[in-house]
């Protein structure tokens, strides 16, 4: 029974585990930035005065939210990259990495957009009216008045989206290019046997990534809360 909890293999492979988590962190960090940008675009589409853009925003967000990420990631790498030959790079691993980033960013952006839109709904009507009455245009009032308040009120939900995105890196990496913590875990499972300690090692790694992120966003959302 003692060998069930024999951690020597985990300790021996700590460097590999650390490197694989570094790959996860890089993937997550880049995706966080891109999905925030793209999500803001969809959200501003959805509240824009142009019906066509509103329609596009709604369509895209609903399409993305209801498609499984596995399917989206597999579609990107197998259909868009392999069949349509849309390559980011000639090196397969680099190409896979960028398609993974794209798939995850596009997917996450839909949830970011939903978060922002619900935030925009919490901004009192008077704010927008006041912005208009001093002569700000739509873009100006959105950028200087509405969005800053909206973002502050949805930091908590945005944190949840971000944590989910960190967890979703496992899916895109497994589907498109296979360099991240979960792929490394699978590899070590094959090389050294699927042992409980190995799983625990990776589980702790994910806890270290997600729990502090959750605490940080909880703290931030309290700190930045708009006092009304």
């Amino acid at each position: 029974m003692g060998q069930l909890f024999d951690f020597t293999e985990v300790i021996k492979n700590l460097d590999k585990i650390a490197i694989s988590f570094w790959a996860t962190i890089r993937l997550a960090a880049l995706t966080a930035v891109l999905s925030m940008i793209l999500g803001t675009v969809w959200a501003s589409f959805r509240v824009s005065p142009t019906p066509v853009l509103r329609g596009v925003g709604t369509f895209v967000v609903n399409l993305l939210r209801n498609t499984p990420l596995t399917l989206l990631a597999a579609f990107c790498i197998s259909a868009l990259s392999d069949i349509l030959k849309w390559h980011f790079s000639e090196t397969p691993s680099v190409n896979g990495y960028w398609w993974a980033v794209s798939a995850l960013s596009v997917y996450t952006s839909a949830f970011v957009a939903e978060a922002l839109r619900s935030g925009i709904n919490t901004v009192p009507l008077g704010q927008a009216e006041a912005a208009r009455s001093i002569g700000l245009t739509f873009t100006q009032s959105l950028r200087m008045i509405i969005l800053p308040q909206a973002v502050r009120s949805v930091i908590g939900p945005l944190g949840s989206v971000l944590i989910a995105m960190i967890k979703n890196t496992t899916v895109v990496a497994a589907v498109s290019y296979g360099v991240d913590a979960v792929s490394e875990m699978k590899q070590l499972f094959f090389d050294l046997g699927a042992t409980l300690p190995m799983f625990i090692g990776f589980a702790i790694g994910y806890l270290v990534l997600t729990l502090p992120t959750g605490f940080f966003f909880g703290w931030l959302s309290k700190r930045m809360a708009v006092a009304r």
Binding site: N66, P68, S118, V123, A128, F138, G156, A164, V175
Partner: protein, 330 residues
């Protein structure tokens, strides 16, 4: 998109704004048409509109053997996962509300742990680990217990034991992951739902002389369940989407059929993927519609004092977009 969002941000347009809007509409229409045009051009360029690539979807046999079979497998995993996750969620959600710390704290640790784990590594845990761990357990004092458990309980999900080695089929691994992950999220929803009931309710119940059990069963839960229903349904949408992770370990769900098995026979991967996505979206929209109807009913119902919104982001995100019940309730 409702009108009220719009009115927050802009007035009824005057002549100049109307002209500007028209120009903007024109430009955006042009850009969108351009993008669509480019996609069509690119698809055509690679011969993706060839008749034989789309023809399989007009044949009933293809639908029956691949897509319907895949959908059934997906729905099967989702249904079993939903039921087990609801049981897990109710159990642990209520355990977290317990007055005894020795129930509350371990339940909280379990829930927080599984909420923080990526679903995929939970599925890998169930899929790969038992095969190596079970022979060791079989030799130990718990060997007999393991055999009895597998033969009598886990065999329902297709888990088999042979000479002490436990084999977990992909279906069981997917269900395991879905249950633990979504069950933990549901536990948070249950907890938040019960906590969202005003204190006066339980105080009044206690004043009437009810025991803890009766307060929960007769007063808090009936109200909490009405408030939680929409959120629970949105979590089921998440669970349904997450079944597609089975694709990675070879569970023959809709993604597998539509993305591996069908294209292997007809060489129309891109087309099959589009059909697949359409099926997923249709199923999810139906479930979401149910959630919306439920939510509207809950809002109307006089019974409920609180409502938990399912429209907020906190609840309906994908492969684990965390549904923090606390967010949902606040």
């Amino acid at each position: 998109m409702s009108r009220d969002d719009a009115t927050v941000l802009f007035d009824a347009p005057g002549p100049r704004a109307r002209r500007r809007n028209n120009i903007l509409t024109g430009v955006s229409v042009l850009v969108i048409l351009g993008i669509i045009g480019y996609i069509i051009y690119a698809l055509n360029d690679k011969g993706q509109f060839a008749k034989e690539l789309w023809k399989p979807f007009t044949q009933w046999d293809v639908w029956r053997t691949y897509f319907i079979q895949g959908t059934i497998n997906t729905l099967k995993a989702a249904a079993v996962g939903t039921v087990l996750a609801l049981v897990f969620g109710a159990l642990f959600g209520l355990a977290r509300l317990s007055d005894h710390w020795w129930i509350r704290v371990p339940a909280g640790a379990v829930v927080e742990f599984f909420r923080a784990m990526p679903l995929l590594i939970l599925i890998f845990l169930a899929f790969f680990v038992p095969a190596t761990v079970s022979p060791i357990i079989a030799d130990g004092p718990l060997g007999n217990f393991q055999r009895v458990m597998v033969e009598n309980v886990f065999s329902i999900f297709g888990v088999t034991i042979n000479n002490g080695t436990v084999t977990v089929p992909a279906f069981a691994a997917v269900v395991f992951g879905l249950t633990l992950y979504n069950g933990s999220v549901l536990a948070e929803i249950v907890r938040a739902g019960v906590q969202s009931i005003p204190r006066g309710q339980s105080e009044a119940a206690v004043a009437l002389g009810m025991r803890k059990n009766a307060v929960m069963r007769l007063v808090l839960l009936p109200q909490a369940v009405t408030a939680m229903l929409p959120v629970i349904v949105s979590q089921i949408v998440v669970l349904l989407k997450d079944t597609s992770l089975g694709f990675i370990i070879g569970y023959e769900d809709l993604t597998s059929y539509g993305f591996k098995i069908e294209p292997a026979n007809f060489h129309n991967l891109l087309q099959a993927a589009i059909v697949c996505a359409a099926i997923y979206i249709t199923i999810n929209l139906i479930v979401s519609r149910i959630a919306a109807v439920l939510e509207a009913r809950v809002r109307r119902s006089k019974k409920s004092i609180t409502t938990m919104s399912s429209t907020g982001v906190s609840v309906q995100a994908g492969a684990g977009m965390t549904a923090s019940g606390a967010d949902a309730a606040s």
